[in-house]
């Protein structure tokens, strides 16, 4: 066990897997010598060299498009998209090609890769360095979507993601890249995909969150506790395919649901979670499921702390849901 932040844990996972599996190749803008703008790939170029840690030309579409070719050849690319706000030039390659290759080839040409990209607000990045586009990928059949909330899960989920046979979008909450610290086992271990973590058990309200907003949910739950409301906090960890058993079991217990995410509310992942709970636990619902999300606006620069669904916006939703 060593104390690590998210950046160090992800870096440790990449290094570990690159030593273990020489098919793994890291590519992206500035991932080489400087180790990426957030230094997540720092030191990999020094250890693995030009052929396995590649600074690419400035094209996200080129990065993912060529990574698909590498995967077909038999390598295991782990491309980095510098910010998830820059992923759209690669959107066609991800949703039209990467997601569909296994299916359209009858299973003969799966293209396996893990696309890593920093996600979310909180670093004064304004509308093009703060977005949370997860639902735009969850809607597309064939992709798995992961978002860790702490260093231990970040390493364990990234190792699972690289070893999983399907393409994975791995969203790294940049707001807590360095703020979230914790014990991380040395060497090999995995955190399974598709399994949520019940961070705190409670009987009154189920709170679903992930990534950086998990900490806001916890802060709000602490406040709610003072008002006698016991929240069950579930860290989804894998967004899709989501851990439906854990969610349904929790809602059947509490009868109440609050979903928190940074992405705009409309057609965000929260809508799907509410719809799924309706389908699977309708008679258990004692209050309308609440969504505490980013607004249906672009992401602001000066007012980003007003935009984010922080504890002060989550608390009233928990209270009104509990008191409904």
């Amino acid at each position: 066990m060593t104390q690590m932040n998210m950046v160090q844990a992800i870096n440790d996972a990449l290094r570990h897997e690159m030593r273990r599996d020489d098919r793994v190749v890291v590519l992206g803008e500035d991932v080489g010598k400087v180790g990426g703008v957030f230094r997540v790939t720092q030191g990999l170029w020094d250890e693995f060299g030009d052929d396995r840690v590649v600074d690419t030309p400035l094209s996200e579409g080129g990065i993912v498009g060529t990574a698909i070719g590498m995967a077909l050849y038999g390598l295991l690319p782990v491309p980095e998209i510098q910010f998830s706000d820059f992923i759209y030039p690669a959107y066609d390659q991800i949703v039209s090609e990467l997601a569909k290759l296994r299916w359209r080839s009858g299973g003969e040409y799966p293209a396996k890769m893990v696309v890593r990209t920093p996600v979310g607000g909180g670093i004064r990045g304004g509308l093009y360095h703060s977005q949370s586009p997860e639902s735009l990928f969850i809607h597309v059949a064939g992709l798995k979507v992961v978002c860790p909330s702490n260093p231990h899960d970040a390493k364990g989920l990234l190792l699972s993601s690289i070893r999983d046979p399907d393409p994975v979008l791995f969203f790294e909450p940049k707001r807590i890249y360095r703020a979230a610290k914790g014990e991380v086992p040395e060497g090999d271990y995995t955190v399974p995909l598709g399994k949520a973590a019940v961070l705190r058990e409670g009987t009154d309200v189920t709170v679903l969150a992930w990534g950086a907003m998990l900490y806001e949910a916890v802060a709000a739950a602490d406040e709610a506790k003072k008002q006698g409301i016991a929240c069950e906090i579930v860290d989804l960890r894998t967004l899709w395919p989501v851990d439906i058993e854990t969610i349904v079991a929790s809602v059947k217990k509490t009868g109440r649901l609050v979903v928190v995410h940074e992405a705009p509310k409309t057609c965000g992942f929260g809508a799907e979670l509410v719809a799924l709970v309706n389908e699977k636990a309708f008679l258990h619902l004692e209050a309308p499921p609440a969504r505490v999300c980013g607004f249906d606006t672009p992401f602001p620069y000066t007012l980003e702390m007003e935009y984010l669904p922080l504890a002060h916006r989550i608390l009233p939703a928990i209270v009104s849901t509990a008191r409904y």
């Binding site: 190749v25 579409g61 080129g62 060529t66 050849y73 296994r102 299916w103």
Partner: protein
């Protein structure tokens, strides 16, 4: 001031087959009887199959088909120049490349009819087919997206120091896509061993090449990527073979990729099959007898394959849910079971 405007003159595409059927003495390679015959036989096979597909599409038996009639020399000549374990990334008109690589006619027929015996379970609209056994890749009909895949596979081979290259085909319209640019720019920087064959047939659906770009031809676009650019007579299978062999060798030697513009002459102009036949007739190895036999055999093979596919049924409904992921996740199991 140093001006780098386009040169006004277009290079005339290189040819090898002369009007009298002989091969231009400057041609760099020896052409064996076997290869000469194989090139011609595959062009004929592609042509016959293609014409049947056009008819089946008119009858509504298959939903769509992109005909390569007149472009067989570009398709067959290029794939014939590659090594067996090189990758091939077709666009919509390259059924001939899959046939050259050994895809059985029956497999092709099951593909275009989307039967239960189609390797992809009837998931794709017709053309192009993929053929895993011979590294013919699965591509989408989205124009341009596969160019990056070809570059990536070639780049991977270079990383692994393997003597493996990629051949990718596309039409001149595809050169307007962002993928063409980003992919060939990666190819230039990485020296990926890729041969990019642009079939310039002058049209993208209803849009003429003159509205597609203001560059002087398409091979010149290679300059933007530090690649070699070459134009070749796209109705001359021997010339295409030679140009792509040159490009394959250059790539294998570490000098990087080549953009080959295969200029397809207008319908009025020389038919690639006729031109190659004229050449074969200069050889002892070919005569009217063999010509007749070939057409009879090909026609019979094609009809047999189509009949087999048309007798086959559609895939089982449950197959829709397979291969989305390696294992069926809970939500797809629920959706599948709800159909039961």
């Amino acid at each position: 001031m140093q001006s780098l405007g386009p040169s006004s003159a277009l290079p005339s595409p290189r040819s090898a087959l002369r009007d009298d059927g002989s091969i231009d003495p400057s041609y760099a390679y020896a052409l064996s009887d076997e290869l000469a015959v194989a090139l011609y036989e595959h062009m004929v096979l592609a042509r016959v199959l293609d014409e049947r597909m056009v008819a089946l599409q008119r009858e509504g038996v298959v939903a769509s088909h992109a005909s390569a009639v007149g472009e067989e020399a570009a398709v067959v000549g290029a794939v014939a120049a590659m090594h067996d374990d090189d990758w091939v990334f077709p666009s919509s008109r390259e059924l001939g490349a899959a046939l050259w690589r050994g895809m059985p006619l029956a497999a092709y027929a099951h593909h275009v009819h989307g039967t239960s015996r189609d390797p992809a379970h009837g998931r794709n609209a017709p053309d192009p087919p993929f053929w895993k056994a011979a590294r013919v890749a699965s591509v989408s009909p989205l124009v341009g997206t596969h160019i990056g895949h070809a570059v990536g596979a070639a780049w991977a081979a270079r990383m692994k120091k393997a003597d493996v290259a990629s051949l990718v085909y596309f039409g001149e319209g595809a050169t307007s896509s962002g993928d063409f640019h980003t992919s060939l720019n990666f190819a230039g920087v990485t020296k990926a061993p890729v041969v990019a064959v642009c079939r310039n047939n002058g049209w993208a659906t209803s849009t003429p090449a003159s509205k597609q770009t203001a560059s002087h031809g398409f091979a010149v676009k290679a300059v933007a990527y530090g690649l070699r650019g070459v134009t070749v007579d796209g109705a001359d299978v021997v010339a295409v073979l030679g140009v792509v062999r040159d490009a394959r060798a250059r790539a294998a030697a570490g000098f990087g990729g080549t953009l080959v513009e295969a200029v397809i002459p207008g319908a009025d102009r020389a038919d690639p099959l006729a031109r190659m036949r004229r050449h074969l007739e200069t050889r002892a190895s070919w005569d009217a007898e063999r010509e007749k036999r070939l057409h009879a055999e090909v026609a019979a093979d094609v009809e047999r394959a189509l009949a087999e596919a048309q007798a086959a049924g559609p895939p089982a409904r449950e197959t829709i849910f397979d291969d989305v992921y390696a294992e069926l996740p809970w939500h797809l199991r629920e959706q599948r079971d709800a159909l039961r």
